[in-house]
Symmetry: C2
Subunit: 423 residues, 2 copies
């Protein structure tokens, strides 16, 4: 590769809000999206909430001349909703389905059935290895009383962990998607601190679009205006994040968002705003990553955010165990009730009542069994993430004890440092 190597990468990201039968004007919006993507000819288009594989197949057909490579990430019962269209050949792809993703009995929220995931594409662009990730985390339905907070924190952690372990040989890492996290939220900070990914909106000098880079804005006619009432400008929950590793440098030349309207016809493409980034990658002499100095100190951003996440998970584990214990008591009661009913039915007298009550008590027993099992599994998933966080925190502290000379090795998200540590 030439020392003056430089490459421009145009990226599109959109949560398409394409739920069959439920999302308004879905077919029309998907058609307009295809026209727009064909017209703009991005290098990569990363989409979320394409819930129907028929919609993906339609887009694939329409986009084939401009984007010859495409992939739909299948998972869960409904699907992950994630898909990608690429102008360049996709060399490899894989995915990770998040361990925790809401509750099956919250049917009206539906996230549990989707199998939310992160998808990875590996592209080789003029000798440069690009790992592009696309994801969609669990939705936030009530910010004041967010019962999914711990699940979203674990998802953000698993996302960071997946990127960390699969990007060790990548030159450039790109993450796009709907994180359902505001920029200062715990999950977002955890993701950024652990991976070293930078936020296109905060980094670029040339931003055009919605106020404060918001990706759900009140001007969008599909948005639930009531939900956005506490946020007059809207909220920023969709991101383009990136970093370069191993002697490359990446910057965001321009970032644009739609502003509640279709870029051409005036009607919006989705209830979310699209993000369009132009990134520039060039060779750079190996240098210490500025973020690699933040790992050691006890009050460094990484250590702080790890501690905060651990506190959150401790509470969530206790909560999951409380639910499992409650369900355990209900199982006990249900068994007792069944025994009583069986003896009543056998003894005659109120036989009819006993037989009638048999159904709800068996239902109660099965339901409580399912709730018990689910929350035990939830506790196990939370404990798994907690063990990973504790390990990373332990390593950060060990490094601190070794003194400042080990500083470059302490950026746990930067594998270059890890490699240097033992050599």
């Amino acid at each position: 590769m030439k020392p003056n190597f430089s490459m421009r990468l145009r990226v599109f990201n959109l949560n398409c809000w394409a739920i069959p039968y439920l999302s308004k004007h879905r077919a029309d919006r998907v058609k307009r999206l295809a026209d727009f993507l064909n017209l703009e000819s991005f290098d990569l288009a990363l989409l979320q909430e394409v819930w129907s594989e028929q919609d993906f197949q339609y887009l694939r057909q329409k986009l084939l001349p401009t984007y010859p490579s495409a992939h739909y990430f299948r998972s869960g019962i409904i699907g992950s909703g994630l898909c990608v269209f690429s102008k360049h050949p996709i060399q490899e792809f894989t995915q990770h389905v998040y361990t925790l993703n809401g509750y099956p009995y919250m049917i009206h929220h539906g996230d549990w059935f989707c199998g939310k995931a992160v998808g990875l594409l590996v592209l080789h662009l003029s000798g440069l290895v690009l790992n592009a990730y696309v994801t969609h985390l669990h939705a936030e339905y009530n910010r004041q009383k967010d019962i999914y907070l711990a699940h979203r924190v674990v998802q953000a952690w698993e996302l960071a962990h997946f990127i960390h372990h699969t990007s060790k040989k990548a030159d450039v890492v790109l993450l796009c998607g709907d994180l359902n996290l505001h920029p200062k939220d715990l999950g977002c900070r955890l993701l950024k601190e652990w991976t070293g990914l930078r936020d296109a909106y905060l980094e670029t000098r040339d931003f055009k679009g919605s106020e404060e880079g918001c990706t759900m804005v009140p001007d969008n006619c599909y948005v639930n205006q009531k939900e956005l009432q506490p946020f007059p400008c809207g909220i920023r929950i969709d991101y383009v994040l990136y970093k370069a590793v191993s002697g490359f440098y990446i910057s965001c030349k321009t970032l644009k968002t739609t502003t509640g309207l279709d870029p051409h016809s005036g009607s919006p493409l989705s209830d979310h705003e699209a993000l369009m980034a132009t990134l520039c990658v060039r060779h750079s002499p190996p240098q210490e990553d500025p973020s690699s100095t933040h790992g050691a100190a006890e009050n460094s951003p990484l250590v702080t955010v790890l501690r905060e996440a651990l506190t959150e998970l401790d509470q969530a584990v206790a909560q999951a165990r409380r639910w499992a214990t409650c369900a355990g008591y209900v199982i006990g009661l249900g068994l007792l009730l069944l025994a009583v009913l069986c003896s009543l039915a056998a003894g005659g007298g109120v036989r009819e009542v006993a037989i009638l009550l048999w159904t709800p008590s068996v239902g109660l027993l099965l339901g409580a069994g399912a709730v018990y099992t689910f929350h035990m599994q939830e506790a196990k998933g939370l404990c798994k993430a907690r063990a990973e966080l504790q390990h990373v925190l332990g390593r950060a502290r060990e490094a601190q004890d070794l003194g400042p000379e080990s500083q470059p090795a302490l950026s746990l998200g930067h594998q270059e440092g890890n490699r240097a540590e033992d050599q």
Copy 2:
């Protein structure tokens, strides 16, 4: 790192068969295992079927002086059963839970509840990066009519894919575990062909232990003799597999198995035999991997095994959809029955019978709904794996079209080749 660098690595692998309440002499065997591991002082001990976290905590306490680092991989409802004990600090760990792992209604087999997984440990040994993987695939209950074959093939594929994507910067890759696959089985060939991992038993010149390296032998008193009847010497389903990347060379100096008896007291440690390997890693000038020449030809082992796996998955997808369709019909029937019963109950006459039949028909409906949902999810998981296999096969064919000069780039399991391809 010095050019004459050389390192010896002693590895222990055992499926411990430690099922609380069910496995015979569990406490005694776990205690003897701990004594044996302490005495032998391996570099790494990788265990499967440690189903109880209490057993892990007991081992952790007893092994602490010899193996200061340990990790238990939590997953599913019961757990993955996987754990590791290491003489060297564990730098990082993560895990992947297999998408498909049997059927929830096969309660007597229980695999579905375990959350079978692959665990990864990253160790830094004298500047060398070692990725050690431990796994346990779905059991084979009936070799003649194996209803889990497709699930095990998908698990083997996901295992290979996980290793491929997470070991790109490793110098040495080690995989130990109970694959529940005979050496010539489709899943085993797929794993070896795609990752380039080599089998310690086939590679070593110094093997001591059970006949043909079997890891379940009739001499073991805990083994179900009836199941082993078709295999007089036993079966080989536990493995130590390895490869070196990026200018290192790895060989297996010695491999030992137990032979149905405890190495000291005479009573076996488990129903499986333990594997004990001494591996030697040394620097070697970069050379073409001998396995990198097998990617292109239409009849190469990789292409052949990919095609075989695709055929298997095609059948499994059809089967899963058939089950889902059947369940769909039952749902329809259940709804019809419910409607009839409701009208009978409302109309009087056979009201009592109608009310009595209400319970089983609701049960039928819910059961069929669960079966439908499960098999739709199964079909999605199978389609995901099929898409990945098709992509790899497509790339192998593209490479073939490019002619023999592209041969070094075609070993899809060897990321060195992939990198070279575009540079």
